[in-house]
Amino acid sequence: MTYEEAEKELTQIVERLERGETSLDEALKLWERGEELYRFCVGQLDAAEGKMEELAKRVDAARPAR
């Protein structure tokens, strides 16, 4: 699953929940799924951030002393 796919599904879940058309039982299941998707997305963003920082450090190290 890509970040975009996860985020899209999460948004759809939130919209369904906000419309309030689901059964209570279903709502709880959706919420659980939503939280799972949220954790996945946050993990992806954290990883991206870490990668960016690492890259920035590497680039700085490679910058010729001038």
């Binding site: 906000e18 689901t22 919420w31 939503g34």
Partner: protein
């Protein structure tokens, strides 16, 4: 009269004014019906025409070449941003060559330059420069050529207006930058060149980028890249946090909405219960725990229970 062609080629039409030499005349009558006459002129000195005649000849050549479209703006090619190798056609006199090389070296130290030294003045200059230009432009990796010469007299710069050189500049497969004489001189090859530089130094600046500037630009681009990526990441983080907030609230809202609906339903249920009716003043009568719906269900002396809105009490039928 036959004039040696190799010499004739070197001079601009109309540029000579007075030629000195020997005229030889010989004749024979091989078959009595026809004379064969041989006339030969060997020139040993020629004088250049006056400035006026030269200018007129130059003007005519300029008109002719312009009519062919050789000076058209549309013909001019863009100079390469970063040439693999620069060709330099110049005299072996120090100044112009040194200025171009020094400027290139200072701006872009790793630049590679192929120098072709040639005559840049005198009767052989035009043909020599054409040959040098043709040789340099086919050398490997040449992406741009500089044709440079320092200042000189009007006559000194004449070869740079030679038709052959102008055509060679036009035919050159890579862009040509000219830097000939001083600002006010405009030899015809300047008009045919893809770019004209006012001085050899200016030509050097045109053909290579400033490495420092290039590196600074690259650094700025990379900083922008990092900033852009960070901004994109932050935008995603913000949006995700917002979506998560909505996700957190949604079930609570759902339950609250259900609760509200339930309360409403409960209200409707209560309006259907007899209590509301009792509150309006009605009473429920029971005899031995059974509802009394008719006068036939009780007789005088029976004990009955009466229920009203706020409680119940006993009573006796009379």
């Amino acid at each position: 009269m036959r004039v040696d062609e190799s010499f004739a080629e070197e001079v601009l039409v109309g540029a000579l004014d007075g030629v000195h030499g020997n005229l030889e005349f010989s004749g024979e009558l091989p078959d009595r019906s026809q004379w064969v006459v041989r006339l030969q002129f060997s020139a040993d000195d020629a004088r250049l025409a006056g400035r006026g005649a030269l200018l007129e000849a130059l003007f005519r050549l300029k008109e002719k070449l312009a009519a062919e479209g050789l000076f058209a703006e549309s013909r001019k090619r863009a100079l390469p941003r970063l040439p693999r190798r620069v060709g330099l056609v110049t005299g072996n006199d120090a100044a112009a060559k040194r200025d171009v090389l020094t400027t290139i070296q200072a701006r872009f130290p790793p630049a590679r330059v192929l120098v072709a030294e040639t005559y840049v003045q005198g009767p052989r200059a035009a043909a020599e420069m054409v040959a040098a230009l043709e040789a340099v432009c086919v050398a490997p990796e040449i992406d741009v050529i500089v044709l440079a010469r320092g200042g000189g007299s009007f006559e000194d710069l004449l070869p740079f207006s030679d038709e052959r050189l102008v055509r060679a500049v036009v035919a050159c497969p890579v862009p040509v930058v000219t830097a000939v004489g001083h600002e006010q001189d405009t030899p015809l090859c300047d008009l045919a060149a893809d770019r004209r530089a006012s001085t050899p130094t200016a030509a050097g600046k045109l053909v290579v980028p400033d490495l420092e500037e290039l590196l600074a630009g690259l650094a700025r681009a990379r900083d922008g890249l990092a900033r852009g990526t960070r901004r994109s990441l932050e935008r995603h983080q913000t949006r995700l946090a917002h979506t998560h907030e909505r996700l957190r609230r949604a079930p609570t809202l759902l339950v609250e909405r259900r609760r509200a609906a339930l309360t409403q339903t409960g209200g409707r249920l209560r309006t259907l219960s007899p209590r509301a009716t009792l509150e309006r003043g009605y009473a429920i009568v029971r005899r031995e725990d059974r509802l009394v719906r008719s006068t036939t269900e009780v007789t005088t002396g029976d004990t009955i229970g009466v229920e009203v809105a706020d409680g119940s009490f006993g009573a006796r039928v009379e």
